[in-house]
Amino acid sequence: MTGTMTDAMTAAAVETTLHPLPVVVVLVSLLAGLAIAVLGEQRQRLRTVLNLSAAVVKLALVLWIALLVAGGVVPEFRFALVPGFDLVLRADSLSVLFASLSAALWLVTTVYAIAYLQHYANRARFFGYFSICVTATMGIAMAGNLLTFFVFYELLTLATWPLVVHTGSRAALRAGRTYLQFTLGGSALFLIGLIWLYALAGPQDFIAGGSLQLLDLEAVTSMQAIFVLIAIGMGVKAALVPLHAWLPSAMVAPAPVSALLHAVAVVKAGAFGLVRLVEDVYGSALSGALGLSLALAIAASFTIVYGSVLALLQTDLKKRLAYSTVSQVSYIALGIAIGGPLATVGGMVHLVHQGVMKITMFFCAGIFATLLGVTRIVELDGLARRLPWSAAAFSVAALGMIGLPPMAGFVSKWYLGSGAVAMGQTWVVAVLVASTLLNAGYFLPLIARMWFRPAPERWTGGAQPSRWVVAGLVAPALATAGLTIAFGVLAGSTYSPLDWAIAIVREYLP
């Protein structure tokens, strides 16, 4: 430990201000979750009100923060968690990107979940952990250093597990076990990496451009090893192959959970962590110099292709969607790993885009299963005749996943691909194209089945819920599908996710 690295605490370009907002925004859903858990199963109406108002309040708070950040203020709150190591909650522009995604999607998912779980047992528990899950996500978004990130990252692991095993079935418990094996194993390595990093360089806050500097060649292997350890911790949640196997089995969870897992919470937290690791801890320059970016890019590329191939082989709708997530989330890591302004924008903006697209698909998968009993792909035939709006939402999201304009996914792919070319890594284009083809291969048949194949005589299962329940299920899907289009069509306008991502990258790569 020769102190080979020092933190490059240069004066930040933006003004950091002590502010309670980052804590408040984290606490809102925590308190809501605790209140819901304490209220018990019977207080359904109060629970609904609490759920929804907390979600709305949180969204409003995040927007407030976004306005502050857009005005050049970085609200921050810190206190000593472990002696010498601070818990830092700080809302920089990258935080806002992720936080606004979580807050917005939490709102729609809450609406959906209330409708979806109408007849499930243990709803108080479900919504309690659901809220804590979002608390953790918000904490991850606001985390101002790796330790804080780790704390909320683990909280997320813990809060998600009850959601995964919610039904208590044998399959659910098995999935929960797999989930824990991976996440806890990964977090053990993460923790070791963290300790090592702090031992080597002292406590480090996230700084645009990275807080670490390489002063000594002796530290190269250490720094590489630390990166690998932490990246494995992140990669488990981000479902980087071969650390992804928990994700498809976690599909047994109720649909809102899958939606949340895949779009906002767990998987996205891992990807967001990779972004922080590369951009804010190591900095893309140092990551590149240490050869870490290339390694990450290769891992992400492999994941993209592998996930897509496996998705193609699935016959179960949710499984196919799960493997698609494996593939799609790695776009984020890929963008970060390529580096350069364009690809970084692509990676960051995909954080949002993948979220709205994938949540739409899971909403729809849940609707198909609940209303018609459809869970397998062959059962999708003619489904659009019964559920045209859901089928339309699903189709829009699927086309976006393929990366076709004018959907959101195209914008991501555009920036990733052109960014890679601009950085002289044209091979990435081949990966993207392969992924596009595979995505088309496993999504287009679904669309074709839904819209053009004849419907069966009668549907196998399904309930006849009230009109309000159906509206509660379909409206969120339509809303996010609308976002999928809007984020693509209006990508060039101010305050679009793309615009925000570009603003972030300006901070990172002036």
């Binding site: 797999t178 094996q181 194993g185 053990a188 390595l189 070791i192 002796e218 190269v220 292997t221 250490s222 590489q224 090893a225 690998v228 350890l229 494995i232 071969p242 196997a245 928990w246 191939v309 496996l310 193609l312 082989l313 364009l342 045209p388 076709l404 304009p405 004018p406 195209f410 914008v411 792919k413 555009w414 691909g417 052109s418 960014g419 890679a420 070319v421 601009a422 044209t426 284009v429 081949a430 993207l432 194209v433 596009t436 083809l437 088309a440 291969g441 287009l444 048949p445 074709a448 819209w451 053009f452 194949r453 693509g488 069509v489 209006l490 990508a491 060039g492 306008s493 101010t494 793309l498």
Partner: protein, 554 residues
């Protein structure tokens, strides 16, 4: 404003069509009007820059695109009228696909930035699927499947090219791509794009989807598919891989050879067909070969704007003429003399008979090739070969005539749209040439040059009558059939198949399933292994040991 209207009308039509009741009716009624709205931006010359939209859409009609706009407005509008009266079945989805295709085509026409073009191209490619599978028959499913596979193969190349362009220049102004400064280091992008768009044009050997898809669609849909939508590929070449960006394109002679190959192959394969619409589809392939010849000629001499205009003229002529011929298929062309005339004139025009619009287009093409020969970049006999394509086309048109004469259902009305489109095919290219200053006055020499191939064709026909036609029969889609069979062995992606799959013998199907199954199983096995705790433990251990080693060594 005019551009907004031109884009919003088809979009509105597309959005309304899927609904039942009054909304759907209104959506359909928009269909014949919407294409005409494209004439507005042509007339006003408006340019817009919507930077808020997507990654920045710049839209407007470039002067050289004008014939394409004209073609789209006329052919699509009249075909829509025809379709309103004839298309039955699942009309909601048909009209959705129809209007969406038009919207995409409009974007392709108006696009002045990379993203705008790509958006339009993707939309038109996907929406066309909806009108191809309209019949929902086994053949339609198969055609749709093959179409999608090839469309996405092309898409792969195109998106690669587009991303490479974007990597160098961002969402570039397309006009800038046609200036030499932008060509540096983009050879691979150029070839990817040329290859990708060649799928849409049906250049051999990427043509296989075309004889399946164009004939299976309803008559008016075939008309726009063959008449207009294939031109999106040409626009792709000219807008995204413009020859003007380089002195000369290194591979231009090869392209020209490929064009000629396509022209002759299309005819030869078409002659073996026994369905009228299929023959016409092969004719399209053949004609697109000529387009490629024109493109290659332009590549040899990119500085000369006349060759660009010639391509526009060729497209305008072919689009209107082929549209008219396809509409004829829905009007029993053999049932009256008037109808025979309405069929014969465009057919002759397509074979570049003197004084027809095809003569004008072919004359320009020959001039362009001649220029290449004069520059020493082409063998002199290419000129003769280009002339010979007229003979080949004439033969194919004879086949069309023979098949058309079998259709004598007098109960089928003569739709006015057909008549109008035929008139347009015969006159509009002349008018356009006159207004744009690219008239070629008929002289003795150029008439002779146009005439001898026709006479040759007549001679061949007479000889064929005497000796009998060779009884060769190629299946529709020719080489796609063996390809499909071999694909089945590898468990091709499960695009929606028709309920019964007649192509593969049971044993082969079983083998294919077994192969696909074993792949799936082994991957699933790997997945299971990865999920096991022991495996996770081993992985973690491995990492741990590695870290330890690093520590020890570091």
């Amino acid at each position: 404003m005019s551009i907004a209207v031109a884009l919003l009308l088809p979009l509105l039509g597309a959005l309304l069509s899927p609904f039942g009741g009054r909304a759907g009716v209104w959506g359909r009624r928009l269909a014949p009007i919407a294409p005409l709205a494209l004439l507005l931006p042509l007339a006003t010359g408006e340019q817009v820059r919507w930077s808020w939209a997507l990654l920045g859409l710049d839209l407007g009609v470039d002067p050289w695109v004008a014939p394409f706009v004209l073609l789209t407005a006329l052919a699509w509008g009249l075909a829509a009228w025809f379709a309103l009266d004839t298309v039955t079945g699942d009309t909601r989805r048909f009209w959705l696909g129809w209007s969406l295709s038009l919207w995409g085509m409009a974007l392709v026409l108006l696009a002045q930035t990379l993203v705008a073009f790509y958006l339009g191209y993707v939309v038109v490619s996907l929406a066309a699927y909806m009108i191809i599978i309209h019949a929902r028959s086994d053949a339609a499913w198969r055609a749709g499947r093959v179409y999608l596979l090839l469309a996405f193969a092309g898409e792969a190349a195109i998106v690669s090219g587009v991303l490479i362009l974007a990597g160098h220049y961002g969402n570039v102004q397309l006009a800038l791509l046609a200036t030499p400064a932008y060509a540096v280091g983009l050879e691979e992008a150029r070839w990817l794009l040329i290859g990708g768009f060649a799928v849409k044009l049906g250049i051999v050997p990427l043509h296989v989807w075309l004889p399946l898809a164009h004939p299976i669609a309803p008559v008016p849909a075939s008309a726009i598919l063959s008449g207009v939508i294939v031109k999106a590929g040409l626009l792709g070449w000219l807008k995204l891989a413009p020859p003007q960006s380089a002195e000369t394109l290194a591979g231009a002679p090869t392209l020209l050879a490929l064009g000629l190959l396509t022209a002759f192959t299309g005819v030869l394969l078409g002659l073996t067909q026994s369905k009228l619409k299929t023959v016409l589809a092969y004719s399209t392939i053949s004609q697109m070969g000529l387009v490629l010849v024109g493109f290659a000629a332009l590549s040899l001499d990119p500085g000369d704007d006349r060759w660009l205009a010639a391509l526009g003229l060729l497209a305008l002529h072919h689009g209107l003429t082929k549209g008219s011929l396809f509409l004829a298929c829905g009007c029993s062309p053999g049932s009256s003399r008037l109808r025979m005339l309405l069929l014969a004139l465009p057919a002759l025009s397509l074979a570049a008979a003197p004084l027809a619009t095809g003569f004008l287009a072919k004359a320009w093409l020959k001039r362009a090739v001649d220029a290449g020969i004069g520059g020493g970049q082409l063998w002199p006999f290419t000129y003769t070969l280009v002339s010979l394509t007229s003979a080949a086309t004439a033969l194919l048109m004879w086949r069309v005539w023979v098949l058309a004469m079998r259709e004598r259902d007098a109960g089928q009305p003569l739709h006015p749209a057909w008549a109008l489109l035929t008139l347009a095919a015969l006159s509009v290219p002349w008018l356009w040439a006159a207004s744009s200053g690219s008239l070629i006055a008929p002289t003795l020499s150029n008439v002779w040059v146009a005439l001898w191939p026709l006479l040759l064709a007549v001679a061949v026909v007479l000889l064929g009558r005497a000796w009998g036609r060779p009884g060769v029969r190629f299946p529709e889609g020719d080489i796609v059939v063996p390809l499909e069979r071999s694909a089945a062995h590898f468990g091709a992606p499960s695009l929606p198949r028709a309920p019964s799959v007649p192509h593969t013998a049971p044993a082969r199907a079983a083998l294919a399933r077994a192969l696909a199954g074993s792949l799936a199983r082994s991957l699933a096995g790997a997945e299971g292994l990865l999920r096991e705790l022991t495996m996770v433990g081993l992985l973690l251990l491995l990492v741990g040991v590695l870290v330890w080693l690093l520590l020890w060594l570091g």
